[in-house]
Structures are given as structure tokens and as C-alpha cells.
């Protein structure tokens, strides 16, 4: 991978130039700087954050790299951010920021700060391609549903459809297998994650996203609580990411193959940091 090394060096050089151009005054506690930055992402979500061998792909990965570049870091070092550990990873400085389908909620704001949203997702259903009986959350009565244990989606669907027959696994992959085997009728979670699975080579043409969301998930970049200066820099990077067209490119590249179109409100306007 000679090419990779050269491009990393190029990025580093650019970063160094950028810093030099900035002159004094901007150095300080948070944000910016050379060297590589530790970023938390998901390792197991195709289309969003997926580790395949030594490569990382997905929409979140693209944004994570873009932010690192905008902030002047030489590179990124990815760390797996399992849902339940995200707050701890940030508060103990094990990662600088997290881009991992991280929905902005009030309970989470108690522990971390968010930059963004950079994407508005919603809970949706993934069904077998030949299934016409499931058209939305209203048609789930008597159907078998699958989700991941402990996920917000599982809790939410149980509220929307009381008494729903829900199978919970510890990974989405098992849900996808059960769906293809006919053991469950639908898999529910954020439409972005579903689109990622539908776009996978092994599932192409076999699964489809229903396309009727029934919740709003504002994905944000999680970072240290109260670090307003750093938050502002990340927000600027996200704004630039969207306005430059990189955002659209990333969505098309990572989620496009499943015919996925981002829902209403996308691309969002990042909120001001507080």
C-alpha cells in the first residue's frame, strides 16, 4: 500500500501547512493538532461503520475521516465504540470523538456533548423482497419481529405495538439470517442500518426496506461534555461536509446500492454548540 502511505503523508503535509498558516493563537487545549486522532466508530454496521480486514468503510467512517482532516489531524485511528460503552469511551478520553449511529438524546447529553446532527434517520422495517403484507408499523399485528437486545429500536417498537412478538439477538447479523430463513417477518432498527444490510452483496434482491419511518433519530458526533470550542470546530466541519457535496456523495456511495433515499429533513442543519 505505497499509495496509502503517500496520501497519508500528503495529508500530514497539508495539515502542517495549514497549521503554519494559522499562525499562533489557535493552539490550546482542545481540537486541532498533528498526529493521528482516535475516533470511535461501529465495526459491525455495513454501510455505516464496518471493519473488513484492515479496511473501514461506511458513511460514518467517511465523516469521521473528513472531520479529522478538517481539524488538521494526520490520520485516524479507529476504535470500536459498542453502544453501551460510548459515553465511557469519551469521558475517559479513550477516543476524541465518536461517529457511530449515535442518536442525540437528553439522557445522553448528561454525559457527553454532541455536534450535529449530521444525519436524520428513522426507525424502519426490513422485510423479505417478496413480502407485500408489511407496509409499515401499523401492519405488524401478528407478525414476527426481530431486533437487537437492549437497542432503542427494540424498546420503541414494543411501545408502538404493545405485545408484539419480538425476537431479540445480540447482533443484527443473526436477525438478518433469521429473516432470510423465514423465522421472523421483519427486522426493525434505523433505516440507515437496514439499508446497509439490504445493500450487502449476500442480501441484494432478497431483502427490502419498507421506507416508512416511525421515529426520528438525529445522529450526532459525540464528544467530551462541555468542550464547546472543540464542538464548534466539529460543527464547522460537518457544515462544510454537507455544503461541499461530500455528504451526498457519501450517502450515495454507502447506502445508495439498496435504493435508499434519505428521509425528509436531510441533509440537516447542525445545531449550535452549547
Amino acid at each position: 500500500m505505497k499509495f496509502g502511505r503517500i496520501s497519508v503523508m500528503a495529508v500530514a503535509a497539508t495539515a502542517a501547512l495549514g497549521l503554519a498558516a494559522c499562525g499562533g493563537g489557535t493552539s490550546g487545549g482542545s481540537g486541532g493538532g498533528s498526529g493521528s486522532v482516535k475516533v470511535g466508530i461501529k465495526f459491525d454496521q455495513p454501510g455505516l461503520g464496518l471493519k473488513a480486514g484492515a479496511d473501514y468503510t461506511g458513511m460514518d467512517v467517511d465523516l469521521a475521516k473528513y472531520i479529522a482532516k478538517e481539524l488538521g489531524y494526520a490520520g485516524t485511528e479507529f476504535v470500536e465504540a459498542v453502544s453501551a460503552q460510548r459515553e465511557t469511551l469519551i469521558s475517559t478520553d479513550q477516543v476524541k470523538y465518536i461517529v457511530g449511529t449515535y442518536s442525540i438524546t437528553d439522557a445522553r447529553k448528561e454525559k457527553v456533548s454532541f455536534a450535529g446532527p449530521y444525519f436524520i434517520a428513522g426507525q424502519d422495517l426490513l422485510v423479505r423482497a417478496d413480502d407485500t403484507t408489511i407496509t409499515g408499523v401499523d401492519s405488524l399485528a401478528g407478525k414476527k419481529l426481530c431486533s437487537v437486545k437492549g437497542s432503542t429500536s427494540a424498546t420503541n417498537v414494543q411501545k408502538k405495538v404493545p405485545g408484539v412478538n419480538l425476537q431479540e439477538y445480540n447482533t443484527y447479523t443473526l436477525c438478518v439470517d433469521a429473516l432470510k430463513a423465514g423465522n421472523v417477518d421483519a427486522l426493525t432498527t434505523d433505516d440507515t442500518i437496514l439499508a446497509g444490510y439490504a445493500a450487502q452483496e449476500a442480501n441484494k434482491g432478497k431483502l427490502k426496506v419498507v421506507g416508512k419511518t416511525f421515529s426520528t433519530e438525529n445522529y450526532g458526533v459525540g464528544l467530551k461534555k462541555g468542550d464547546v470550542e472543540f464542538c464548534k470546530k466539529v460543527t464547522d466541519a460537518i457544515t462544510k461536509y454537507i455544503s461541499s457535496g461530500e455528504w451526498q456523495k457519501a450517502v450515495d456511495k454507502n447506502l445508495g446500492p439498496a435504493g435508499y433515499k434519505p428521509g425528509a429533513g436531510n441533509p440537516p442543519t447542525p445545531a449550535a454548540c452549547s
Binding site: 454525559k111 437486545k149 437492549g150 425476537q167 431479540e168 439477538y169
Partner: protein, 221 residues
């Protein structure tokens, strides 16, 4: 901490943990006793079969067994006992836990059998008792009494191992803990405390009771 109890059904989740523990402990005791009898029986084939079972099951990760119970038996072989996932998974998790811990119960009982002096078994056979009779009247009663401590250890391990059942979605404590962590990261420490204290409340008495029983029921020789 009160917030957790009002927002989530913590006691209900511990209830499922207790149900899982009790049912699979009973299953493991029955299967384990059968396997132990096979291992001490004078039939070479049963000996080998029992040893094979113990070494195969004991050395397989529990998560693998539990997930296989779901993916293998329910999803691929269609062996559902109920259309309701919650009930189906509870039953298969119980079966998986019972078969896994049966290997440990068997070894605990075998250690109990070894506490019985060889002379007693020989004496039992020489007065004309069959293998079954000597097992029932002489060996097993003493074996169980001698194996109380290792059986108690297995029961404590089993109680905590029920958390693995969350992998296939049984609504027990570890699953609830994940849900709580996802929804309420602001209460991370109380969540851990509630779960940890809950398990101590469940397992500490087991240890105290087995220590007491092992002294009270010890065979005086």
C-alpha cells in the same frame, strides 16, 4: 436508583433469571446424575459415552451452545415449542443451560462417589445387591452428601451463567442491563450496582446454605 425501578421492570427481569436458574438446575441435576451413573457403571461403552459427553460439553463455550439452541434448533430445524418468541427462547435457553451444567454436575457427583470407600461398593456387591441396588442404596446417597459443596459451586456458576441467555433475547437481567445502559447512560453506576447487588442477593445464600449443609450432612466415617 429508585428511578431505575420505576422506569424498568427490574424485579421482573430478576424473576426470569430465577426461573431460568431453577428450571435449568433441575434439568442439569437429572441429566448430570444419569451421566455420572454412566461414568461409574461397569459397562465400558457407557463409561466412554459419559466421558465423551462431559469432555465435549464442558469444553464448548456456553454462548455457542445457547446461540446454537436458537439458530440451530429453532431457525434451521424449526423445532419451535411455541409461536411466542419469549417462551420459545426461555425453553431452549433452559435446555442449553441444563445440558451445559449437567457436565459439571456429573463431575461433582463423581467426586462424591470417590469419597465412598471402595470397600463399601465391594461389600454391597458381595451381599448380592445388583449394580442398580448398590448405587441406589449405598453409593449415591453418600455421593450426593459428599458432593454438596461442588454442587453448590455449580449452582452459583449456573445462576450467573443465565446472563448468557440474553444472546438469544431471553428477557433476563443482563438484557435489561443493556437496555438501561442504552437509554440511561447518565445512570451508568446505579445500573451496575443494581445488577451486581441483585446477583449477590441471589448467590450469597446458595453459598451459605451449601456450606451449612455440607457440614451438617457430611458422612462421618
Amino acid at each position: 436508583m429508585g428511578e431505575l425501578f420505576s422506569q424498568y421492570n427490574v424485579l421482573g427481569a430478576f424473576g426470569i433469571t430465577i426461573v431460568l436458574t431453577v428450571l435449568s438446575a433441575l434439568g442439569a441435576l437429572v441429566i448430570g446424575t444419569v451421566v455420572a451413573i454412566m461414568r461409574v457403571s461397569p459397562v465400558g461403552f457407557l463409561n466412554k459415552l459419559g466421558a465423551l459427553y462431559v469432555n465435549l460439553v464442558r469444553n464448548t463455550p456456553l454462548t455457542l451452545i445457547i446461540v446454537f439452541c436458537n439458530i440451530g434448533f429453532i431457525v434451521n430445524l424449526g423445532m419451535s415449542v411455541s409461536d411466542d418468541f419469549a417462551r420459545n427462547n426461555l425453553v431452549w435457553a433452559t435446555i442449553g443451560l441444563a445440558f451445559y451444567h449437567a457436565a459439571f454436575v456429573c463431575e461433582a457427583l463423581r467426586s462424591g462417589v470417590n469419597t465412598v470407600p471402595a470397600g463399601q461398593a465391594e461389600a454391597a456387591r458381595s451381599i448380592g445387591l445388583t449394580f442398580g441396588q448398590s448405587l441406589r442404596e449405598v453409593l449415591l446417597p453418600q455421593a450426593f452428601r459428599g458432593a454438596i459443596t461442588p454442587l453448590g459451586n455449580t449452582l452459583i456458576a449456573l445462576t450467573k451463567n443465565t446472563t448468557v441467555a440474553t444472546a438469544i433475547g431471553v428477557a433476563e437481567v443482563a438484557g435489561l442491563m443493556k437496555t438501561m445502559q442504552e437509554d440511561r447512560p447518565d445512570l451508568m453506576v446505579p445500573i451496575f450496582l443494581v445488577v451486581a447487588i441483585g446477583f449477590v442477593i441471589l448467590t450469597l445464600p446458595i453459598g451459605l446454605v451449601t456450606t451449612h449443609l455440607s457440614q451438617k450432612l457430611a458422612v462421618k466415617r
